[in-house]
């Protein structure tokens, strides 16, 4: 049962431990899908229950949301490039593309915070009605995930700068890339089912 290390294939899959950790993370993402589905479901159930607060159609602005979507989608692409650089063994390329990714992510967060503050000024807060509770918690949970992901990625970049690309660091980096893409997918659902529908209905 001693650790056998393969010599071919992507670095992150070469050890048994690497494979198990990646599988574990996939299962974790499965649980995250359930978690977000529950939030989407509560949001859908509470849709229209705005009480005395403004309606989403009054507040949602296509401009901001489009920029946010653009930032996050691009960041997913650059994150993919970072993994590509990792496969080529280039610490420099990986770091460069991941930094771009994180800057885009921070931009996304900035807009989101601005958006939330703006809504609060217009009288839509987490407390103002069931609908707005659902909205803020759904979008906010996604935002919180992005925030954690950014912190985590910085810690990983730091480790990679010290240790280079090894079986372990590549596994860690691969996992955060999965996480980042996952958040992108969730955002697409938020964009369509929250913002697009909210602006129309």
């Amino acid at each position: 049962m001693s650790e056998e290390v393969k010599t071919t294939g992507p670095l992150e899959y070469r050890t048994n431990e690497g494979q198990m950790t990646i599988l574990g993370f996939w299962i974790f993402l499965g649980a995250e899908v359930v978690l977000f589905s529950t939030l989407f479901a509560t949001y859908a159930v509470l849709f229209g229950r705005t009480a005395d607060a403004p309606t989403p159609a009054e507040l949602f602005e296509p401009g901001t949301v489009l920029i946010m979507t653009f930032l996050l989608l691009t960041s997913s692409f650059t994150c993919g490039l970072a993994v590509h650089e990792m496969r080529r063994g280039s610490v420099k390329g990986l770091t460069r593309w991941m930094l771009v990714t994180l800057v885009l992510g921070l931009g996304f967060l900035g807009f989101e915070i601005y958006e939330f503050i703006h809504y609060a000024h217009e009288g839509a807060t987490i407390q103002s009605s069931a609908y707005w509770s659902g909205f803020f918690i759904l979008a906010g949970t996604h935002g919180l995930h992005v925030t954690l992901g950014i912190g985590w990625a910085f810690a990983l970049l730091h480790q990679i700068s010290k240790r280079g690309i090894t079986n372990v660091t590549s596994r860690k980096f691969f996992i955060i890339s999965l996480y980042w893409h996952f958040l992108d997918v969730i955002w697409i659902f938020i964009f369509t089912s929250v913002y697009l529908i909210g602006m129309v209905l």
Binding site: G24, A31, V34, I126
Partner: protein, 647 residues
């Protein structure tokens, strides 16, 4: 807020409890210091990542929780048998049925089963440990801190009192102000996260760490039940996480999910709760099925009848368990169509369950049964559980449920499935695997006394409750001085005390066996009738589990290994074994998160933030942790195995 305002006061029962908690704490601290055991406690237990030790800690905690929940039960039964005595007031009664239900399901049944899984599953599949031992320790400490947080509520701050289902709007901030309900929310949240992590951990362990050659359909049935259960955990627990979080945010930060103001929807809670809650009851019954299957096959000395049917029925039960949740609130008024759909799906579950019952009976058919204590629990399970299942189907008929709902009929139903199913299984599993854990068996004679007291007490306690329910006695009622109900209530209380005595004898047996039982010399404890790999290890199990892992290509591999004289010590092929290092970080990290939860309970946001920062620091430390464990040398393995096998 000062300390005086924090402590619950005004009730002699609670003062008594406080004093006894204080005394026990002082006694434990004194004993640890006196026998100089602090270092031992830290080195051997608090920092362990060994699945066997973590399992033992789970089971110990679960037994303590069974005691606490059992005390609650006794108090309720005393109140119901003597309603005029004024033993409990209504507030106190509400708190007690709430903590009883929550503790029994979340802090007793689940950890007991997870403890057995911890110890046995890696041994059954030939693995060194869990896939993620560090995470396993985190899970345990998450559960432990959650349980402690929930349990201190009755001396500090006040217990939750809205039932284990915690329905809104009753449990919302408007109608249940104060920390009580927050204890429920944070205690469950913390331990729930641990359970989710365990589910992921077990899934990866079973999918990736099986002995060479062992296909999924070669796995022992308990491992199968664990895999299916983990699947349910991973897909059900996030729903609970969200439900609890939303209610917490409602209560502490004023959102409007389940409120009556701001167009909130209190009924959404019932949906979310039971979308987790029904799968949850299968989380605690499927492993029980697994345990009974192992015990029955061993003591009937036959291969389990219909192995694949057993597996498939579990898988089908798992899938169906997500499609029936509305049967818990047929009376809420979802309409005839919705109720009919869920009525049918509910009754469907009885089909795969029936398949399992017939398979057990067929295994027993014409076999030479050995009536050991573990087997007695399994045999008692079958007829008792059928009573629970049949009444479940009765409840599942939506129209009839309008009559049964929230009556003692329902109470009797779920105690028949949960006690005759889960609790009997926990006892059976503990007795059955006890020699693997502690190197000696539990005394069989005393075990039989415990068994008979508990089983007879159980039926005397709960069978009358079906009739109380049919006579219209509602659940969660503290005054029952309706003359027609009194006799059956008194009988029921007598039965409850019978169970209490049975449990006391069981616990005494732990002590007695520790002192007097013969020490095991072979690993195959039950007269050489073991069928699966855990019996191939020596007893006590060495910390690396298997010196060499055998090649497996059939069900019950150990039967043939014994015939061919093979062991898990194939001396020429011993290689160094990779092991994870012990670490105190999971404990400390969860202590911080426990502190954060405590802060949230009292809505002391600063304390919550302090705890959270502590937790985050430990997460950061973890990502910088490159400890790769160590290797056990071939010489050491050979020395250990030779000694244990008397070579």
């Amino acid at each position: 807020m000062n300390i005086k305002a924090l402590l619950v006061d005004g009730d002699p029962l609670i003062y008594g409890a406080m004093v006894s908690i204080g005394l026990v704490t002082v006694a434990i601290l004194f004993l640890l210091t006196y026998f100089k055991k602090w270092g031992w406690l830290w080195r051997e237990w608090l920092t362990t990542v060994d699945h066997k030790k973590i399992g033992i800690m789970y089971i110990l905690s679960a037994l303590v929780m069974l005691f606490r929940g059992g005390m609650d039960a006794m108090m309720m039964r005393v109140q119901l048998a003597f309603p005029d005595l004024g033993f409990l007031d209504s507030q106190h009664y509400n708190e007690i049925f709430t903590t009883h239900g929550t503790i029994m399901i979340i802090f007793m049944a689940m950890p007991f089963l997870i403890g057995l899984m911890n110890i046995i599953v890696p041994l059954q599949i030939g693995a060194r440990d869990f896939a993620f031992p560090y995470l396993n320790a985190l899970s345990f400490w998450a559960f432990f801190m959650g349980a402690m947080l929930f349990n201190i509520s009755f001396v500090i701050g006040g217990s939750p009192d809205a039932g284990w289902t915690s329905y809104t709007p009753l449990s919302g901030a408007a109608m249940s102000p104060g920390p009580g309900q927050n204890f429920y929310l944070m205690g469950l949240q913390l331990s729930g996260i641990g359970t989710l992590a365990t589910g992921i951990n077990l899934m990866v362990t079973i999918l990736k760490m099986r002995a060479p050659g062992m296909k999924l359909f070669h796995m022992p049935i308990f491992t199968w039940s664990t895999l299916v259960t983990s699947f349910i955990i991973v897909f059900a627990f996030p729903i609970l996480t969200i439900a609890l979080a939303l209610l917490t945010i409602d209560r502490i930060f004023g959102s409007q999910f389940f409120t009556l103001t701001g167009e909130g929807l209190p009924m959404m809670w019932a949906n979310l709760f039971w979308m987790w809650g029904h799968p949850e009851v299968y989380i605690v019954i499927l492993p029980a099925f697994g345990i009974f299957s192992e015990v029955i096959a061993t003591f009937a000395k036959k291969r389990l009848f219909g192995y694949s049917a057993m597996v498939w029925s579990m898988i089908i039960i798992a899938l169906l368990s997500f499609l029936v949740w509305v049967h818990h609130f047929f009376t809420m008024g979802a309409g005839a169509f919705v109720n009919s759909v869920f009525s049918v799906s509910t009754m469907l579950i009885a089909v795969p369950t029936g398949v399992k019952i017939f398979n057990w009976l067929a295994t027993l058919y014409k076999s030479k049964i050995e009536f050991s204590v573990a087997m007695l629990w399994a045999l008692a399970f079958i007829p008792s559980f059928i009573l629970g299942g049949v009444t479940g189907v009765m409840l599942g008929m939506a129209a009839a449920d309008f009559q049964f709902h929230n009556s003692y009929f329902l109470i009797a139903h779920f105690h028949y499935v949960l006690i005759a199913g889960t609790v009997f299984a926990c006892f059976a599993g503990l007795v059955y695997w006890y020699p693997k854990m502690f190197g000696h068996k539990m005394n069989e004679r005393i075990g039989k006394w415990a068994f008979w007291f508990f089983v007879i007490g159980f039926h005397v306690c709960f069978f009358p409750q079906y009739f109380l329910g049919l006579d219209g006695m509602p659940r969660r009622l503290f005054i029952t001085n309706v003359v027609e109900w009194l006799p059956l209530n008194v009988i029921s209380t007598v039965g409850a005390f019978g169970m209490g005595i049975g449990f006391a004898i069981f616990v005494y047996n732990v002590y007695y066996s520790y002192r007097h039982s013969e020490r095991e010399t072979t690993g195959d404890s039950w007269n050489g009738n073991g069928r699966t790999l855990e019996w191939a290890t020596t007893t006590p199990v060495p910390y690396y589990n298997f010196a060499t892992v055998p090649h497996v290509d059939e069900i019950d591999p150990y039967v043939r290994m014994k015939k061919e004289g093979k062991t898990t010590f194939d001396e020429p092929n011993v290689k160094p074994i990779h092991m994870p290092s012990y670490t105190g970080r999971p404990f400390i990290m969860m202590a911080f998160l426990g502190l954060a939860s405590f802060g949230l309970v009292f809505e002391w946001i600063w304390l919550a933030i302090v705890g959270l920062i502590g937790g985050i620091i430990f997460m950061i430390l973890r990502t910088y942790d490159y400890d790769e464990g160590y290797y056990v040398s071939v010489e050491e393995i050979k020395r250990t195995e030779r000694k244990a096998r008397g070579l």
